[in-house]
């Protein structure tokens, strides 16, 4: 495997997540062949690529939903590969899964309470509840409503809010813009920036390269299970290969 081309310089930060040579396969089919990436503290990192490049597999392997065949994953200097999600959530990792994965039959409030499933610090939970209502005021209006009756955008907001309710240091987001109106997507990305400003690191998987790289400090481009390019968000956005392949120019 050749080393990926690197664009721009990365702002030095203490490392929060460090993935090294990650291999994942589904039976005989290989999804990831040696993915290495890192997320610094307080950093937004975007993972972009076409369908089937391995973006979701990377995220699922990091959050313990599937077992990598080999490779090393470290969260805050501790090895976490092979640990299941239920052990990673208390260590500060929250995953808002693809397709939102909210409980449609529960109310908005119940969904948010579930986000704090492993926490016992009730006053803090209540404060975080106020915090996410501050981020997404529409959720406060819908608090007693069944989550299934929300619009797509509101469901995505709920999914992100629920992930925030576990009090994470690292937020893994899988395609938050999927199937949403441009205006809603804009709102969501504006709020992600706000969340990040409060010190939460974000690893963002996106098809919408333009949006993702605009928000991200750093980005990785995945192609057929390998990192082919990496670099500063703005630098990637300006690169001709990226403009051609992902931005349709």
């Amino acid at each position: 495997m050749s080393a990926p081309s690197t664009l721009g310089t990365r702002e030095p930060r203490p490392q929060l997540l460090d993935v090294e040579d990650l291999h994942v396969s589904y039976g005989a089919i290989t999804a990831l062949r040696g993915v290495s990436l890192g997320v610094g503290q307080g950093e937004v990192v975007a993972l972009i690529g076409a369908n089937g490049a391995g973006k979701t597999s990377t995220l699922r392997a990091i959050s313990g939903m599937l077992k990598p065949r080999s490779g090393r994953i470290r969260l805050a200097e501790q090895e976490i590969q092979g640990l299941r999600s239920n052990l990673l959530v208390p260590r500060g990792m929250a995953h808002a899964p693809e397709g939102r994965g909210i409980f449609l039959n529960l109310t908005v409030l119940e969904n948010l309470e579930l986000g704090a499933y492993l926490r016992r610090d009730v006053p803090e939970i209540k404060r975080d509840l106020e915090y996410v209502f501050g981020l997404f005021p529409i959720l406060r209006e819908r608090v007693r409503q069944q989550a299934g009756t929300l619009s797509g955008g509101e469901q995505q907001m709920l999914s992100i809010s629920r992930a925030l309710m576990s009090g994470p240091k690292l937020l893994l987001l899988d395609e938050p813009s999927l199937g949403l109106a441009p205006q809603v997507v804009e709102t969501i990305f504006r709020i992600l920036r706000e969340v990040n400003a409060r010190g939460v690191s974000i690893l963002l998987v996106e098809q919408n390269a333009h949006l993702a790289l605009n928000l991200a400090h750093y980005g990785y481009v995945l192609e057929t299970g390998e990192v082919v390019m990496r670099g500063q968000g703005k630098a990637l956005l300006a690169a001709p290969e990226i403009r051609k392949a992902y931005l349709g120019e």
Binding site: N86, V89, A94, F103, L114, Y117
Partner: protein, 343 residues
């Protein structure tokens, strides 16, 4: 009132009520037999509902676990028939042994549940159905071919130490456990798994752990049901624990509404008494002779009736009689209900 005492109140009430019923009705053999069959089916349905209803996994081998409990408890009782515990009156000694064998039957079934559940519940999807289907058949075939278990002839001569009280106290216990699970964090986790397993996992729910625990609890009670069964029917044979029996329990759970404990109870009672009701109905109708012969065939007519019932149910009320709700959720709104939550 201290908390531990408050927890005991329902148990004490149940003991008192059941003791009175035992005194009033315990001497009517047919009634006791019928009530025991109903009770065993209620235990099976309520316990299966913990897996199929609350957790959303699909197990279709409940008769297998029942068989493990029935044969374990039955064989033990048979071996201990002539043994009495020193210093106790014969009746008391029998009952203590009965209790011991019930627990042994439940434990044996729970161990089988763990062995079957651990590998198959790590996976999502239909694997549990395939594995439990296989398990039920394997148990039946093993029993059919082992001399100790009487092969196809089955076990007879098991002391008939069961009673109305014993069966319905177990019914009470399984309902209590099911209700306590629903109200607890454990129940909420099961519910989350049922609604969306990926999301539950992302929330930090140990999905495999909770699924296996639910499955083991469910298997335990199926074993107890089998143990009770072995102590009031004159003979247990592999024919009582076939795939058809498993499906019967699944039908009860689906009819009652997946996830509804009271629904499972109501459905179990209805489906167990249905053949008896049909029999009486045919006898009433048939002074002509046709009714009598129909009445004799009720056991064969039963299966098509189940089939029709399920088809009608799926057309009219796909969520089952009660859906995920309980009987008291259908009460008028002005009766106050507890609502828990952060705010």
């Amino acid at each position: 009132m201290p908390a531990w005492l408050r927890g005991l109140v329902p148990v004490l009430i149940a003991i008192a009520v059941l003791a009175v019923l035992q005194l009033l009705l315990g001497h009517l053999p047919f009634f006791v037999y019928l009530a025991s069959i109903v009770g065993v089916n209620v235990i099976l349905a309520v316990s299966l509902n913990i897996v199929n209803g609350m957790t959303g996994q699909f197990s279709i081998g409940h008769a297998g676990f029942m068989a493990v409990g029935a044969y374990t408890a039955g064989k033990l009782s048979f071996l201990l028939k002539d043994v009495a515990i020193a210093g106790l009156p014969a009746v008391v000694s029998d009952q203590v042994q009965f209790l011991g064998t019930l627990l042994a039957g439940g434990a044996a079934a729970a161990i089988c549940g763990f062995i079957v559940g651990l590998p198959s519940l790590r996976l999502r999807g239909d694997y549990l159905a395939i594995v439990t289907l296989g398990f039920g058949e394997i148990i039946r075939v093993i029993v059919q071919n082992m001399e100790v278990f009487g092969r196809a002839l089955g076990l007879s001569g098991i002391p008939q130490t069961s009673s109305l009280f014993a069966v319905w106290f177990c019914v009470f216990l399984v309902v209590l456990v099911a209700r306590r699970i629903v109200g607890s964090t454990h129940g909420r986790s099961l519910w989350a798994i049922r609604e969306d397993e990926v999301a539950a996992e992302a929330m930090g729910v140990n999905t495999t752990g909770y699924k296996v625990r639910a499955f083991v609890i469910s298997s335990f009670f199926a074993g107890v049901a089998g143990g009770l069964f072995a102590h009031f029917v004159p003979i247990i044979n592999p024919g009582s624990f076939t795939f058809v029996k498993s499906i019967e329990v699944v039908v009860m759970v689906v009819l009652g509404g997946l996830g509804s404990t009271t629904g499972a109870i109501v459905a179990a009672v209805i489906l167990t008494l249905l053949p008896e009701a049909l029999r009486t109905l045919f006898l009433q109708l048939g002074g002509l002779g046709a009714g009598v012969s129909l009445a004799q065939k009720v056991d064969q007519i039963r299966m098509p009736v189940y089939g029709i019932l399920l088809v009608v149910l799926m057309l009219v009320r796909p969520q089952g009689l009660f859906g995920t709700r309980e009987v008291w959720d259908l009460l008028p709104r002005w009766i106050p209900r507890a609502r828990k939550g952060l705010t």
